[in-house]
Point group: C2
Chain length 225, copies 2
C-alpha cells in the first residue's frame, strides 16, 4: 500500500533528518522545497541531491517571491546576517510567516496527492527565538489544516509531523546518522557560497558545528575559508 | 495615525466589497492579489483597477505556482468548469488550500508592515461547499497566526477580518453599493475572457446574477455572448 507524505526539504541538516525519519516510518516521500529569494540558494541544490540520495518519489521546487516583502536578513540583502553568536529573542534571520507559508503549500500538495501526512523539520530547542518553531504553533496549524481541507471535511485526520521539535542538534545528528543520512550533502549556512561552502560564523553554522561536536561525530561541513 | 491592513483582493465582487468595508473602517489598505495559474486572469486586471479606484496604499501581485499541483478546475485545464448550476458538496472549482496559502502570504506582508489586521472576503453562505470559507476555519487560522508571528509572541493581537462571512450575495452587493463600490470594475466569472467578459453559466456567474436580482440592483456585468 502506498503511504504518501509531503516532506518539507530545505536542504539543511534538520530537514534531511526529517526525510530520513519519514522514510523509516514507511512513507513514500514527496519533497517540497522553495526558492523564496533566500541568500543561500546552495541549499536548493543540496535539497535536490538529498531527495535523490534518499529515495524520494518526487522533488518539487516552488518559486515564492518572499523577497518582495523583505523583513528578514535571509530575504533582504540590506539586512546583515548576524555572525557574533546566537542572541536571545527573535533573530533578524526570522522570515515572517515562512513556516506557515511553506506548510500551507505542503497542505495543497498533500490534498492533491491524497496524503494525510506532512513532515516538517522544525525544532524548538535550537530555534527557540522563532515563533513558528514552537509545538503550540504546530498544533494550531494542524487544527486549522483539518478545517481547511477536503480531508478534514470528509472526516480523515491530517497530521503535521514535527519529529525533531523536542530534540537538540546533537540528538538530531545522532538520529539521522543512525538512519544513514549523509550530512555531507546538506547545507545549513545562512550565507553559503555558490558551491555550498559554509561561513562558519552565522547562527546556523554555530549550532551545526556544536551539534557535531556534542554528538561526537565527525563534521563533514565544507567551509569557505 | 496610520492603521495598515492587508486586504486580499481577487478582483471579484466579494473582495471588492471587503476592501470597501476596510476603507470605511479607516484602514490604510495594502492589497494583495495572486497569479496562481487561475484560468480567469482577467480577475487580476480587475484587482488592479479596483485598488486604484478605491484608494489603496499599494497593490501587489504575487506569482504562485499552484497549477503545479493541479487538483482544481480553476488551475487544471484538463478539469472542466461546471456550468450546469450549483451542486451540493465540494465543487471541482475548489482550489486545494487556496485560502490558507493566501492568508499565510498576507500574514507575512502584515508582519513586515507592522499591521495587525488582515481582511478576506470569504463567504460561508454562497460557498458552503468550500471548507476554507467556514467561520470555524477563519477562527482556527487566526489562532494559528497569533502563535506563528512576532506580533503574537510580543502580545499584540492579530485579527483576520471576514466581514462577509455570514452575508448572502444580495446583502454583500447592497453593502458594497452603499459604500460606493463600482461593481462594473469587478470580474467574478471562473472562465472570463481576456477582456473580463463573463460566461454567465458557471457557479460564480450564477450566484452573482442572482445576487443582483435579489438586491434589486442593475447588474453591470459584461457577458461574452
Amino acid at each position: 500500500m502506498i503511504k504518501p507524505a509531503v516532506v518539507l526539504l530545505s536542504g539543511g541538516l534538520d530537514s534531511a533528518t526529517c526525510l530520513a525519519i519519514a522514510r523509516n516510518q514507511g512513507f513514500d516521500c514527496y519533497c517540497l522545497s522553495f526558492n523564496y529569494g533566500q541568500r543561500h540558494s546552495a541549499e536548493l541544490k543540496a535539497a535536490e541531491r538529498l531527495a535523490l540520495a534518499m529515495g524520494a518519489c518526487e522533488h518539487r521546487v516552488l518559486n515564492l517571491g518572499l523577497a518582495q516583502f523583505g523583513g528578514s536578513a535571509l530575504t533582504d540583502t540590506t539586512i546583515a546576517v548576524p555572525t557574533d553568536g546566537v542572541q536571545p529573542g527573535i533573530p533578524v534571520t526570522y522570515v515572517p510567516a515562512r513556516n506557515t507559508i511553506m506548510l500551507a503549500l505542503a497542505l495543497a500538495w498533500a490534498e492533491v496527492l491524497g496524503s494525510r501526512d506532512i513532515f516538517v523539520g522544525v525544532n524548538a530547542v535550537d530555534y527557540s527565538g522563532y515563533p513558528d518553531c514552537r509545538p503550540d504553533y504546530i498544533t494550531a496549524f494542524e487544527n486549522m489544516a483539518n478545517l481547511a481541507t477536503r480531508a478534514g471535511v470528509e472526516g480523515a485526520r491530517l497530521s503535521i509531523h514535527a519529529p525533531l521539535i523536542d530534540l537538540g542538534k546533537a540528538e538530531i545528528i545522532r538520529t539521522g546518522a543512525a538512519l544513514g543520512v549523509d550530512y555531507g550533502l546538506t547545507v545549513s549556512c545562512y550565507q553559503a557560497d555558490a558551491l555550498g561552502r559554509a561561513c562558519g560564523v552565522c547562527d546556523s553554522c554555530r549550532l551545526r558545528a556544536e551539534g557535531f561536536a556534542r554528538a561526537g561525530l565527525a563534521d563533514p561541513t565544507a567551509y569557505c575559508a
